[in-house]
C-alpha cells in the first residue's frame, strides 16, 4: 500500500460570498522563514478590488438594515465556527512562522475578539447617541449610522488577529468591507473567509482579497464608492499615500497602531470611528394642558 496523497488547498479570494480566482489570472508565491512556499496565492488586481466594492455596496443596505441583535448573533456565530476550526488555523499560523504557543494564543484572541465585538452590536448606539435638550419646542436626537463601504488594509505582521480585530468593529457597526489580507501571511485570511461563509453572514458584507499593497493602495484610496479606509500598518509613507488618494470623495481615513495582543483594541471607539452622526428634528406641539401640573 502506498502512502495516501494529500489534498492540497487552492487559496482563492472571497467576493460577494463566492470564492473566485483573481480575474487577472496572476498569482504570487510568498515564502515562510524556512523558505518553504505557502502556495500559489491570488495576486488580486484593481479590477478585483472594484468587483469587491460593488459586492460590498450591494450588501451594505441589507446588512445595515439588519437588527443589531441579528448582527450580534452572526458575529457570535463566527466565533463558534472559528472555535470549531482552531486546529486548522493553528497549523496555518505555524506554517507562517508562529510557534505553537503563539499560534494558539492568536487563535484564542481572535475568537475572543469576535465575541467581544458581537456583544457591542446592540450597545454602542446607546453609548454614543443623545437626546439633545434644544431651547425650542422640538424633539431632537442624534444617533449613529454606518459610514458605508470600508476598505481595510489588514495588518502585515498578523495573518488572522490583525484582520479579525478591525473587521469585527467595522461590521458590528453595520458597514460592509473589502479587506486586503497580509501580503506575506495570507493563508488565514482565506480560511477565515470559509468561516464567514459558514456563519450566516450575508455574501458581500466582508470581501477578502490577497495581493500586494504596492499595487492596490492607491486604488483603495481613490475609489469613489469607498467611504472610509482602515489602515493599521503604521508606515508613514503608505498612510500619506492613502490620505492623498482619499481626498477626492473625502474618505474617512483612520489609522491605528494598537498592540493587538493586548486588550487596548477592545473598545467601542473603533466602532464609532466608522459611524456618521445623524441628528433629527421634529416639532413638538405645545398644547395648553401640557403646562398643567397634574
Amino acid at each position: 500500500m502506498s502512502e495516501r496523497i494529500n489534498i492540497l488547498k487552492t487559496y482563492k479570494i472571497y467576493i460577494g460570498g463566492s470564492f473566485p480566482r483573481t480575474e487577472s489570472g496572476r498569482f504570487y508565491n510568498p515564502m515562510n522563514a524556512k523558505k518553504e512556499s505557502l502556495g500559489n496565492i491570488c495576486l488580486s488586481s484593481r479590477k478585483d478590488f472594484r468587483n469587491a466594492v460593488v459586492a460590498a455596496r450591494k450588501a451594505f443596505g441589507d446588512w445595515s438594515d439588519r437588527t443589531a441583535f441579528n448582527r450580534s448573533q452572526i458575529l457570535y456565530r463566527m466565533a463558534e465556527v472559528l472555535e470549531g476550526r482552531r486546529d486548522q488555523f493553528i497549523t496555518e499560523l505555524m506554517q507562517q512562522d508562529s510557534s505553537r504557543k503563539d499560534a494558539e494564543k492568536e487563535v484564542n484572541l481572535s475568537i475572543d475578539r469576535l465575541v467581544y465585538f458581537a456583544g457591542w452590536c446592540d450597545k454602542y448606539q446607546q453609548i454614543f447617541s443623545s437626546v439633545n435638550p434644544v431651547a425650542s419646542s422640538h424633539f431632537n436626537f442624534s444617533a449613529l449610522e454606518p459610514t458605508g463601504v470600508v476598505a481595510i488594509v489588514a495588518n502585515k505582521d498578523s495573518s488572522l488577529l490583525g484582520l479579525v480585530s478591525y473587521m469585527a468593529p467595522i461590521i458590528a457597526g453595520g458597514n460592509s468591507c473589502v479587506i486586503l489580507a497580509s501580503e506575506n501571511k495570507p493563508l488565514c485570511s482565506i480560511s477565515f473567509a470559509e468561516v464567514l461563509n459558514a456563519s450566516d453572514l450575508p455574501g458581500g458584507v466582508v470581501n477578502i482579497l490577497t495581493g500586494k499593497k504596492s499595487e492596490l493602495l492607491s486604488q483603495i484610496g481613490s475609489h469613489m464608492d469607498v467611504n472610509a479606509v482602515c489602515y493599521t500598518d503604521g508606515i508613514k509613507d503608505e498612510l500619506i499615500q492613502l490620505k492623498e488618494a482619499s481626498i477626492e470623495n473625502l474618505k474617512r481615513v483612520k489609522s491605528y497602531t494598537y498592540d493587538l495582543t493586548t486588550a487596548e483594541v477592545e473598545n467601542p471607539y473603533i466602532i464609532n470611528d466608522f459611524q456618521e452622526v445623524k441628528t433629527t428634528w421634529h416639532p413638538i406641539e405645545v398644547i395648553g394642558a401640557a403646562k398643567a401640573s397634574y
Partner: protein
C-alpha cells in the same frame, strides 16, 4: 356678502419702513489684527475695504494679513497654550467662556446691527438668530470645560494645542462662536480667520474678548483673504484645522495637510433635498420650504435648495409656494420688515446670476417674485425653477443663493433614490403627517441633519455636520467636543 369680499388682487401690501437705528454702534475706521491680546497693525501696512452689500459703500477698512502676521499669531497662541491656558483649572476656563457669553448678550444689539450692515442679512435674522445663538454657544460649551471626562468614558481626553480656524461669510459671528467656544472649552488656543467680506463682528468680538480679561494670546484673529487661510493651514505650529466653507477649498486643505499629523474637521457644502408628500400639512410645508431656501438669501450650506414635491399635489403646492414668494419683502437689511436682504458680495451676486441665466438657457421654467427691488446694492429676487431634471446643474451644484430647483416624484423609493443621488450629505427635510413615513425617510436619507416638518433649526446642543463630501466631524453638542480633543 359679495361686496365685503376682500379683493386681494388690488390690495396694496406695502409696509411702512421700520428701519433699525445704527446710531448706537461704535465702528472704527480701521481694524487691525488681534494678536496676543492687542490690536496689531498688519506687517504689510495694507488694509482692504469692508463693503455694505446693501449700498455697495465702504463701512470700514480691515487689515490685510500675510505670513508674518499669521506666524506672530500662531506663536502667541502657542505661548498662551503652554504657559497659561492648558495649565489653568478647567473650571476657571469655563468662567471666561461664561463671561464672554454674557458680554455678547449685553452687546447683542450692536452686534446685530453690525452683522446686518457688513453682511447684508436682514436685521430680524441677526437679531433673533445669529447673535443669540452665538451667545448660547459660548454658554453651552463653557459648562463642558470641567466635565470632559464624563463625555468620553475610559478615554482621558486632552487638549490638542493650537487650533487654526477658518470661517465663512454667511453667519460671521455665529461661525466664530461655533469654532472658538468648543476649542477653548477643551483647553486649546486659537488663531481665527474671518471671511474677508465679513470681518467686522469678529473684530468686535476681539474687543469684547479684551474686555472679558481672557489671557493674552488665547484667541488671536488675523484678517484677510484665502491666502491668509492657506498660511494658517500650512503653518507648522498649528495642531488642528477647523474649516467651514466650500467643498473645493476643503479638499485643498486636505491636500495641504495630508503629509502632517494635523487633525482636521471640515464642514462643507450641501445640496439638501426638501421633500413634500401629499399628506403633508401644505401651508406649514410652504413656510418650511420658503424658510429652507430664502433664509439668509440662501447663503446657507444646509439650505433646502432641491424641492421634491409628490406629483399628486404638484400644481396646488407650486401655486401656494409662488403666492407665498410674492409676499416676501426684498430690500434694506436694516428694515425690520425685510425677509430677504442683500447678497453678501458682488462676486457672489455674479455667481448666482450666472446660475439663473444657466437655468433659463437649459430651458427650465423660471418664476421670480414681482417684488420691488432696491436701486443700489446687490439683491436677487427669490427665484424658483420648475421642470428641473436630475442632471441639471441647478439640481447638482451648490448655488448658495435664493434659487430653488423643483423636481417631482411618485413613490417613496423614488424620492429617496433621487434625494441621495448627490455627493453631498449635509441636511435634508421631510414633510408628511404620517409618523412611520417620517422615520422611514429620516433613517434612509444619507445626511447629517434631517428636519422633519421643520427646517433650518439650530441649537448649541444639537450636533451639526455632514456625510460624504459635505465633510466630517460635528459641531455642537457633546459630539462637537471630540474635534478639539485627543485621546490616549
Amino acid at each position: 356678502m359679495s361686496k365685503n369680499k376682500i379683493e386681494t388682487e388690488k390690495m396694496n401690501w406695502e409696509y411702512a419702513a421700520a428701519p433699525e437705528s445704527a446710531s448706537h454702534i461704535q465702528l472704527k475706521e480701521k481694524y487691525d489684527h488681534f494678536i496676543n491680546g492687542k490690536f496689531e497693525k498688519p506687517s504689510s501696512g495694507k488694509y482692504f475695504d469692508s463693503i455694505n452689500p446693501a449700498t455697495a459703500k465702504k463701512i470700514a477698512a480691515v487689515a490685510e494679513g500675510n505670513s508674518k502676521d499669521v506666524d506672530k499669531a500662531v506663536k502667541a497662541a502657542r505661548k498662551a497654550y503652554d504657559n497659561v491656558w492648558s495649565a489653568m483649572p478647567a473650571s476657571e476656563r469655563a468662567k471666561y467662556l461664561f463671561r464672554i457669553a454674557r458680554l455678547i448678550q449685553e452687546k447683542a444689539r450692536e452686534f446685530a446691527v453690525i452683522e446686518s450692515l457688513d453682511g447684508g442679512k436682514p436685521i430680524r435674522e441677526s437679531r433673533d438668530i445669529d447673535i443669540p445663538l452665538a451667545a448660547a454657544h459660548f454658554f453651552y460649551y463653557a459648562g463642558w470645560a470641567d466635565k470632559l471626562d464624563y463625555a468620553f468614558p475610559n478615554r482621558k481626553p486632552k487638549s490638542i494645542g493650537v487650533a487654526g480656524q477658518i470661517i465663512p461669510w454667511n453667519f460671521p459671528l455665529l461661525m466664530a462662536a461655533w469654532k472658538i467656544a468648543p476649542a477653548l472649552a477643551c483647553g486649546n488656543t486659537v488663531v481665527l480667520k474671518p471671511a474677508e467680506t465679513t470681518s467686522l463682528t469678529a473684530m468686535k468680538l476681539a474687543e469684547l474678548i479684551q474686555e472679558s480679561g481672557l489671557p493674552d494670546g488665547v484667541v488671536n484673529i488675523v484678517t484677510g483673504d484665502g491666502k491668509v487661510g492657506a498660511e494658517i493651514v500650512s503653518h507648522d505650529g498649528i495642531d488642528k484645522i477647523a474649516f467651514t466653507g466650500s467643498t473645493d477649498v476643503g479638499k485643498l486643505i486636505q491636500k495641504t495637510i495630508a503629509k502632517t499629523d494635523k487633525k482636521v474637521t471640515l464642514e462643507l457644502g450641501g445640496k439638501a433635498a426638501n421633500i413634500v408628500f401629499e399628506d403633508a400639512p401644505l401651508d406649514q410645508a410652504v413656510e418650511g420650504i420658503v424658510n429652507g431656501i430664502y433664509f439668509n438669501q440662501g447663503h446657507v450650506c444646509c439650505a433646502g435648495s432641491r424641492l421634491f414635491v409628490q406629483e399628486s399635489i404638484k400644481d396646488i403646492f407650486i401655486k401656494k409656494l409662488q403666492d407665498r414668494i410674492e409676499t416676501l419683502i426684498v430690500g434694506d437689511p436694516m428694515d425690520k420688515n425685510t425677509d430677504v436682504g442683500a447678497i453678501n458680495s458682488k462676486s457672489q451676486w455674479e455667481t448666482i446670476q450666472g446660475y439663473i441665466e444657466l437655468g433659463k438657457k437649459e430651458g427650465l421654467e423660471i418664476f421670480q417674485s414681482s417684488c420691488k427691488m432696491p436701486k443700489d446694492g446687490y439683491f436677487i429676487k427669490p427665484t424658483l425653477f420648475t421642470k428641473v431634471a436630475q442632471s441639471s446643474r441647478l439640481a447638482k451644484e451648490e448655488i448658495f443663493g435664493p434659487v430653488l430647483a423643483v423636481q417631482t416624484f411618485r413613490t417613496v423609493d423614488e424620492v429617496i433614490e433621487k434625494a441621495n443621488n448627490t455627493p453631498y450629505g449635509l441636511s435634508a427635510g421631510v414633510w408628511t403627517d404620517k409618523g412611520s413615513k417620517i422615520f422611514n425617510l429620516t433613517s434612509r436619507l444619507r445626511a447629517g441633519i434631517v428636519w422633519a416638518n421643520t427646517y433650518n433649526q439650530f441649537d448649541p446642543t444639537s450636533p451639526f455636520g455632514g456625510y460624504k463630501e459635505s465633510g466630517f466631524g460635528r459641531e455642537g453638542g457633546l459630539h462637537g467636543l471630540s474635534a478639539y480633543l485627543k485621546f490616549d
